[in-house]
Amino acid sequence: MEQQIVKVKNKKGVRVIPGFGLSMGVTLAMLSCIVLIPLASIFISVSKISLQEFVEIVTSRQVMSGYMVSFTCAFFAAIINGAFGLVLAWVLVRYDFPGKRIMDGMIELPFALPTAVAGISLTFLYSDQGWIGQLFDKAGVRIAYTRIGITIAMVFVGIPFVVRSVQPVLAKLDRQYEEAAMMLGAGRWRTFFRVVLPELFPALLAGFGLAFARGIGEYGSVVFIAGNIPYETQIAPLLIMSKLEQFKYSDATAIALVLLLVSFLLMFLINSLQIYMQRFVKN
């Protein structure tokens, strides 16, 4: 650690940000106040119950089914986001068309919009009486108040992650790779899947992971479209809320801790894979 710092100092005579001490101090303070201490408080809260109680809470049938609903829906939502977000990023980077900037700005709307608003309007659209839901209802598919509805809400909140991860990488990607594939006789599909996709894969994976983690934790928009029927459409964060409603703080944090650990594990795996893939990129 110490050696590294010295290196940085020697290499760069002029540092833009004033002083390691100041910037590191601010970083530590921010990180502690906003991330570390709240996270630590989860562990402290959970430590008030015994391991046996903890296991009992998180393996109860309702909680397990809540995890199942949250994880599967978040997984499928992240897959859909991966494909859909890639296409969106592609269109935004590779083509010029009127209104492109507006469309680009709209990508962030799911971040800016209160999730409850998103949930209510999605439910309105996708219920069997809504504009879009009506069409599906005729085909015998119910969207709102089913797991499909939950997945759609998670797609909505997760899409910016994929687009914003892939976009800069795609913009920087040298066209020569595609041209080289073309000159070797490859058509569009082969060029895309064999040459372009591997280049975008690390970014796509990062976006996928973030969207997945966001989906697991998403509450605000999902509760409106979910139907919340126990064992069918009840998500894990809703169970946390219901425990809080009953003033059972440690139970709530126990359920939350499992979500947190799964998300952390996921991000850890994805980051490791990215570091592994990074070695191909250096020249």
């Binding site: 080289a180 073309m182 000159m183 070797l184 058509g187 064999r194 040459v195 591997p198 070695r279 191909f280």
Partner: protein, 240 residues
């Protein structure tokens, strides 16, 4: 003529990159497109390859009009300036790529890849990834990859630009020898007179989108037809 360009014009955003360019190259020749940077030589190469489309004029390759044929159907090998090796594929997979496109059998692909690895003297490095290779090795792999599908024409865009001066001369001779051995019609782009004169047996001098002179290195050197050519050649310390 194996390759023929007739009255080719091309503009980019009002900039005239090619201005009525016409020339022909016989089968088995090694031609150099020589000119200062920004003269439009790379544009000509890219139009031959089908990576850019001309505004007007005709391009014939082996007697076929290829104007409307996309690059992947022209049967051309192309070596890019920065090689553009696929980073997530091994050397062998890079070379095999064009063969897989042609849906060749596994055994045939394997045989051809081994043959090419031997040609470029990298028999043992087939399992390496591009980031584990030196600049010269990458250049050789890019060459082998372009040759793998047995194209009728090989195009090379500034093939030695990214290689440091010490290795450049050595690689130049190697490439000349290889192309001679394979016997493929080739066109390469360069801004380096010495390189053009040493490697090519036909030199096309381009300036501001126009052809100034076409001829053998000797003709160019001793009988420059325009002021630009004599200036461009003489300013260099190249001596026959």
């Amino acid at each position: 003529m194996y390759v023929e360009m007739k009255e080719i014009c091309k503009t980019f955003d009002g900039f005239q990159a090619s201005d009525h360019v016409s020339f022909g190259i016989e089968k088995g020749q090694m031609a150099a497109l020589l000119g200062p940077s920004g003269s439009g030589k790379t544009t000509i190469l890219r139009m031959l390859a089908g990576l850019d489309m001309p505004d007007s004029g005709d391009i014939m390759i082996n007697g076929i009009l290829v104007n409307d044929l996309p690059g992947n159907k022209r049967g051309i090998g192309f070596v890019f300036q920065n090689y553009a090796l696929f980073r997530y594929m091994t050397v062998a997979d890079n070379i095999a790529f064009g063969l897989e496109v042609q849906k060749k059998g596994k055994a045939e692909i394997k045989e051809r890849v081994e043959e090419l690895l031997e040609l470029i003297s990298m028999e043992d490095l087939g399992k390496r990834y591009p980031h584990q290779l030196s600049g010269g090795q990458k250049q050789r792999v890019a060459f082998a990859r372009a040759l793998a599908p047995r194209p009728g024409l090989l195009l090379l865009d500034e093939p030695f630009a990214a290689i440091d001066a010490k290795v450049r001369r050595e690689l130049r001779n190697w490439l000349k020898e290889m192309i001679g051995r394979v016997g493929i019609t080739s066109i390469f782009v360069t801004h380096d007179q010495e390189e053009a004169m040493e490697v090519a047996n036909q030199v096309i001098i381009i300036n501001q989108g126009k052809i100034e002179q076409i001829g053998t290195p000797k003709e160019i050197c001793f009988h420059p037809q325009t002021e630009f050519v004599s200036d461009f050649i003489e300013t260099d310390r190249w001596i026959v």
